[in-house]
């Protein structure tokens, strides 16, 4: 039953064989075998993640273009992002992913209590990430760095007036920092949206895990959600250096 569907006749026999047994409760009847269902589910999730890559891809392309055109503005704007906060978030998200992987393991070895605990930690770390993101967004709001009508680039034109040690930018270059911040908010915002959806799903999975749905051999939802969660994690691993680490010279200061 663990072999891939390579030999049609053998698989047919296997299906026949299974037909005589009691179906496992999660087996949907349009699938010939539970294994087929599991593989289809996993394949479907990978495919969905591929669509997500294309979705984010549009933003990455815009980033590529505008960073190339307005490099100086991007450097200045990027240097205003907080590396401690961004790095913490990176660590938090990786930890969250680690707990998710542990949760998948717990489901596979059928340890319900551990599964629930790991899912809770995954959620908590996810919420911590979002919390720090809120702090960062709030700071941007106060500094008038949110693109749109209220955007104000004076901090880049006259950094010393704001107590910053950066080099001042000419006004026309400073205006281009709005492009950076737009990409910052669009990319991290889209990422945060995916995290919020993920946390919603986590709560739902938690409830079902507590009921024991996933520790009787039906691991697919946990596994597939794990794929989604790791994907969201990987997107952040690209966003962090691209947005926070443009031309940083920590040793030069």
């Amino acid at each position: 039953m663990d072999s891939a569907i390579a030999n049609p006749q053998a698989d047919h026999d296997a299906a026949e064989h299974e037909h005589e047994h009691v179906f496992v409760p999660q087996h949907r009847h349009h699938f010939a075998t539970e294994e087929q269902q599991r593989e289809a589910g996993s394949f479907g999730m990978w495919l969905f993640l591929l669509t997500e890559i294309m979705f984010f891809g549009g933003l990455f392309f815009a980033y590529l273009l505008y960073r190339n055109w307005y490099y100086d503005a991007f450097v200045a704007a990027s240097n205003q992002l907080s590396i401690p906060l961004g790095a913490s978030n990176t660590a938090i998200l990786i930890t969250s992913g680690f707990f998710m992987a542990l949760a998948v393991w717990a489901a596979e070895v059928r340890k319900k209590a551990l599964l629930v605990v790991f899912l809770i930690f995954t959620t908590l770390f996810g919420l911590a990430f979002l919390g720090i993101k809120y702090v960062e967004y709030h700071e941007k709001w106060e500094k008038h760095h949110i693109p749109g009508a209220s955007f104000d680039a004076s901090e880049f034109i006259n950094p010393s007036a704001y107590g910053l040690k950066e080099n001042p930018l000419p006004p026309d270059v400073a205006q281009k920092t709005q492009m950076f911040f737009f990409l910052y908010f669009a990319m991290t915002g889209m990422h945060a949206l995916h995290m919020i959806i993920g946390i919603g799903l986590l709560v739902w999975l938690l409830a079902r895990a507590q009921r024991g749905d996933f520790t009787q051999g039906y691991v697919a939802p946990i596994e597939n959600f794990g794929l989604y969660w790791h994907f969201v994690d990987i997107v952040w691993l690209y966003l962090f250096p691209l947005l926070y680490l443009i031309n940083r010279h920590p040793l030069a200061h």
Binding site: I5, P8, Q9, D11, H12, A15, R28, H29, H30, F31, A32, Q36, E39, A40, G41, F43, G44, L47, F48, L50, T51, E52, M54, F55, F56, G57, G58, L59, F61, A62, L65, Y66, W69, Y70, P147, G148, A149, Q175, K176, Q178, M179, F182, A186, M190
Partner: protein, 557 residues
Amino acid sequence: MSAPSPTILKLPDQSSATMPKRNFINAEHGLLSWLLTGDHKRIAILYLISITVFFFIGGAFAGLIRLELLTPQGDLVSSDTYNKLFTMHGIIMVFLFLVPSVPATIGNFLIPMMIGARDLAFPKINLLSWYLYIAAGTIMIASMALGGVDTGWTFTTPLSTHYLNTHVVTTAVAVFIAGFSSIFTGLNFIVTIHRMRCPGMTWFRMPLFVWAHYAASILMVLGTPVLAITLVLVGLERIFGIGVFDPTKGGDPLLFQHLFWFYSHPAVYIMILPGMAVISEVVSTFARKRVFGYTAVAFSSVAIALFGFFVWEHHMFIMGVSNYSALVFSLLTMLVAVPSAIKIFNWCFTLQQGSITFETPMLYAFGFMGLFTIGGLTGVFLGSLGMDIQLTETYFIVAHFHFVMVGGMLMAFLAGVHFWWPKMTGRMYPESLSKLAAVVTFIGFNLTFMPQFILGYLGMPRRYHAYPPEFQVLNVLSTAGATVLGVGYLLPVLYLAWSLKYGAIAGDNPWQATGLEWQTQSPPLTENFPEIPIMDHEAYDYEWLEHKTQHEVTHVG
């Protein structure tokens, strides 16, 4: 050398014919059983009804457009109204009709059956797909009711972001949601085709219908998300003024063009590949022959999908892109035209040495082959850089895409609906009336769109509300054709609806076709097959069919 092929249209004795006692239609009763179904066949029917409604809404707008264009002056409607008419005609026809037409109706219904599966991989997601479609349609109607949108279906910035005060964001949301409907359909198909083929069903034993849908699904899954993010950006630009497409803030309006066409070019292949899928099946069945060059046709579908991702800039040749990038994209455009030509010739040669009958689906298929050839070759005009300068943004483009989409895709859709109508409903439609409708459609179509090629070279721009008087005669011809075309499209609605109650009982396999779907009852059981079939013969194996028919009784009911 095969034995004498079985005659087609061997309907059961009509005096005692009855529908199968148990089928997917009468398996459960009540509205909720339809609205909460997981059965891919029921979802297909839900889609069929919905897209027909939207088709006629879009068609009504087309009628008003052509009515306005009877006279050179803009006298029927105001400029703003006219702009809304062509915008909404385009959006509805592209996103709410053409993209889901064959995949969501015929594809949904048939792909599991063709590969011997009981359903698609994710029935709930299939239903979600339909609900997303309905949500998109509802929001679209809301947008129209609130006053409409006049950006053109292409949402060109900065017009759509800064210079219009119509319901752009509402419409963008509707299209965004429709996009996800499409993505989920494609995702479902890909997983189903990969994982749920019955024993013995290798890739090269699948009907070419499945191959073409597989290729279209790849495009749906990879291309549509880019449209989604583009619409998000348009919305953000419009609401917050972020500057991503605004040159005064350092943005680039050409970025929008690249992002938009990166999806919208593969979109046209999303629309046409399922149509080609239908043609493969229809031509094979009514020539009683395996499709000529099966492997070539299968690989051509995939080639169209792959190449289709790399030609988007041909919509932007005159927009100030670098001359050298234009060279690359023009070359690639010429390459993507070749697989379509290969398919047309393969279908033609399927007829050779065949035994051909001219039922309605075959008439539509012939219409497709002729009209798609014209439409596709006029695409070569547009892919040729210098020629594009004269022809782009004129009625030549309008004629080109209507030839491939209406003369091509819509004819293929009608071919498919007529071909599989007996399977889906268990009923036959009146053949002479359907043939009449096919001929009327063909004539009306040519009369409508042929003059537009001439108008295009003369220079008449598209999206024009009023035009110089010397263009009037050709416009009048076009409108006359549109009237005939409208009749041609109304007829099927009428007689197909009629056939549901009064049509002859079809039986399992009225066309004596070879696919797995024809080897079971019409309408099919909810679970499609009593037992999962084992595929032990090649696709389009008429000798197998002959053998089977001689040794089995085709039973009805």
